[in-house]
Symmetry: C2
């Protein structure tokens, strides 16, 4: 079982009402970058009112800024964005484990595989223990990062999975 048939069926509807979106420009119209978590409960376009063409959307486990620098450099230097909004969210899985625990879990599942151990020991999973602090830390990280343009507007937010509401932290 794969999602192939589901994808094709849903996409048929989307393409049928695509309208004039085929003429959108590459640079985001709102010169905006969103960084948020990969969490399945989050639909950033829906909860922020973004439509196709508006903003770059970077998503990874936790909405971790340190994991987004490559993408941000491309966004800012080649496609002229100058605002970044970082979102973390309540109930995030990143609050529930520590890097060493996950490394151990992966290695214990393949105890004789040195390649697995080598790869997983090289990864820091960027978990966090306090949501507000993690937002503040990510915003400060971006503000002080040598590759993020100095004139960038950077804000930090929390999305509440329980209510669908957002609140600004910094």
């Amino acid at each position: 079982m794969t999602s192939t048939d589901d994808f094709l069926k849903a996409n048929e509807s989307y393409a049928a009402s695509f309208g004039d979106k085929g003429s959108l420009a590459i640079p985001p119209a709102r010169k905006l970058v969103i960084i948020t978590c990969m969490d399945a409960r989050i639909d950033p376009a829906a909860h922020l009112g973004l439509k196709e063409g508006d903003a770059h959307v970077i998503r990874n486990a936790g909405g971790v800024a340190a994991d987004a620098i490559r993408s941000i450099v491309i966004s800012q230097r080649l496609l002229e964005t100058h605002e970044i909004a970082v979102f973390h969210h309540t109930g995030c899985g990143m609050l529930l484990f520590q890097t060493q625990q996950l490394r151990d879990l992966v290695k214990n599942a393949a105890p004789d595989d040195s390649e697995v151990a080598r790869h997983v020991d090289a990864i820091h999973f960027h978990e966090f223990s306090n949501l507000e602090e993690a937002v503040q830390r990510d915003v400060l990280f971006l503000k002080s990062h040598p590759l993020v343009l100095k004139e960038t507007t950077i804000t930090g937010w929390i999305y509440e999975v329980e209510t669908g509401r957002i609140r600004q932290i910094i």
Copy 2:
């Protein structure tokens, strides 16, 4: 000017019709991970018919699998996903530059800053020159990666920004 007021206004509407989404579980209901580009023209939930709770969505510049391993390990080992669909798209900015060009552009904008040079020279930007090949390469990369579970179903797709349509490559 920031997007703060726009975010809050749009979010008010979203939260008002949030319904019972506050009770969704953390693990994706469809045990599915989507990897796709940060491109502003792409709304993966819309063009694939995903609703909140269905799938992890990882997005970065290009939809590059090598940049998603940390997130995939968390998704698979802690939240039990076992299908990955990788999407690249027509008209991608990653087809338009080479790493050395972008490094030079960044360094030329701050010619006396050795920190900028040090940071940008450490980044490979993972550009690609052929779309179909890039999809195939990313799928093979994931299939052979020591940290991706062997039983994972992995498919590769192209999204057409001109039409809104998807097509499966592998």
